[in-house]
Amino acid sequence: MNPKLLTFALEAIGRRGGKNAAVGIIFALLVALLASVLLTSRSLQSEVEKTLSALPDITVQKLQGGRQGLIESDRVYAIETIPGVTWARERVWGYYYFQNAGVNFTLVGLDFFLPAYEESLNAAIRNFDIATWMDRDFMIVGEGVERTLHANYYKEYFNFILPDGAMKKVELAGTFAAGTALQSSDTILLPVTLARTLLNAPEGLATDITVAVANPEEVAMVATKISRLYPDTRVITKTDLAGSYQNLFDYKGGLFLSLFITALASFFILLLDKSGMGLAERREIGILRALGWRMEEVIRLKLLESGIVAFTAYLLGIFIALGYVFMLQAPGIVALFEGYSVLKPAFELPVVIDLSLLGLIFLATVPLYMAAVIFPAWRAATIDADEVMR
């Protein structure tokens, strides 16, 4: 690359600053839009992967009138007799809406004497001394919950409002650091009896039942057996979820990308139509040609100019997207992937920036831009050198 030509191209961009800035900003915004969607999707995907890996092999939910209801705890025993099942356990969990702060907490009931159904929960309470808290109403909260409570002047306890309107004072016994999303910073761990009170789940009923199967090959078979045994349940396997989420992300990302590309292409066709070379630019090129610039040198100059604009705009777009997705939490875009909210309502998008994604965004945008400038560049470069003599 000839450094003089590069300098000249940079100066030329500056001389037509208005036009270049306009095109560059539109292009940057388009890149930002695409990058925001793909970054959000990739971020959600990594969150889902983490969440899924922590998920039980099979989850059994009871359906009542098409919606999820409470399930009988004693079904655990029947399920455990199915060959291949390692264990089955009831779970008591749900959401609590904290009106003052406008946030949802996830309440998870735990039997603090038994190993929990999830390794990560065990990790959260490993350093917790249960003996001092026996027979008291206590909770262990994620960092996000602690922050919210402190902001609302709750330092040592919190007053839950029960379904019947009464207050329930629960002491804050400790905090844990967020690991995975399921047990993320909005989670509150409570003794299971307390959770039942708060969630209005009577003894003998549970939110759902989780099942562990030793051999992954047998999961599908066990799932079929469970749904035969209890036709009123929905049986969800981990692979179902993994597959459907993978497809969801690829599909939605892909769908969006194709729409986006169509939009981008039409933008450039419009650009191509409107932005032939201005008169001043034509004259400038004629002069260069008369002074001994080759056609290829003029084309190189023009491609360099647009390449610099495109690349700068691309970088700008990526930065805008990073800010939008990871600092502002991608308002509006998360909704595109709303299928996710069933699994998990509120959480922070984890920062996942992978280079191949940035490369992909580059490939999906910049070549279109370059293709759109080649024809005007050629038309300009083949201006007859003797035109400036007339």
């Binding site: 450094p3 003089k4 040609r289 610039w293 050198a385 003797d386």
Partner: protein, 222 residues
């Protein structure tokens, strides 16, 4: 140095019409000669210069400049030839108004492999020798007519060409600046350059330094 043999140039117009800008022109110009091309507007002077500079190609005939047949060169070679052998001065100067004086002068050499500081240095030397010492960094559009003219001449000279072609160089200059230009012509001639000036300014027709006046009329040599 320059030899045209039976050169014709026909510009096609829309439909079957066409304009014959030059018809069967043969002429030859020796090295170091200063020749004035005289002719009324539309007689084909600019076309002749453009052919010598390999900016356009003849419809028939051959153009040999500095030992090379430039009539059929593909663009890459024609452009290099123009950059290395020809210095052009235009009627309207054709400076880029938004570039500084010095940047206008270095313009032809930007795609070459010479370093930026080398060509700046050269441009500076030439501008100084032409009497432009101040305002080298001002935008060309803010320069006076005389300064613009000198910048345009400096740009023609910066590649150290053997041939200088000037197309009505004084048409937009007043008397004093025209005389200045004649002075500069003298210096160029002394440095051994072959010079062709297309003009209808009578001042040039009986100037001491002019070796020959070639008259052109309706595309033919008179």
């Amino acid at each position: 140095m320059i030899r045209l043999t039976n050169v014709s140039k026909i510009y096609p117009l829309s439909g079957a019409d066409s304009v014959t800008a030059l018809e069967n022109v043969s002429l030859s110009i020796r090295e170091g000669e200063l020749v004035v091309l005289k002719g009324i507007s539309g007689s084909g002077k600019s076309t002749l210069l453009a052919l010598i500079a390999a900016m356009t190609k003849p419809t028939s005939g051959d153009v040999v400049v500095a030992g090379r047949s430039v009539a059929k060169l593909p663009d890459r070679f024609a452009s290099d030839f123009r950059r290395n052998t020809i210095g052009m001065i235009f009627q309207k100067f054709n400076l880029l108004g938004d570039l500084s004086a010095i940047d206008n002068v270095t313009l032809p050499l930007i795609p070459t492999h010479e370093s930026a500081s080398d060509i700046k240095e050269r441009a500076y030397r030439i501008l100084k020798s032409l009497g432009v010492k101040k305002r080298l960094g001002s935008l060309a559009k803010h320069l006076s007519g005389g300064e613009q003219q000198r910048v345009a001449i400096a740009r023609a000279l910066v590649g150290d060409p053997a041939i200088i072609l000037a197309d009505e160089p004084t048409a937009s200059l007043d008397r004093k600046l025209t005389l200045d230009f004649v002075e500069m012509l003298k210096t160029m001639k002394q440095s051994g350059k072959t010079i062709v000036i297309a003009t209808h300014d009578p001042l040039f027709f009986d100037l001491g330094i002019v070796d020959r006046v070639i008259e052109i009329d309706g595309g033919r040599l008179a």
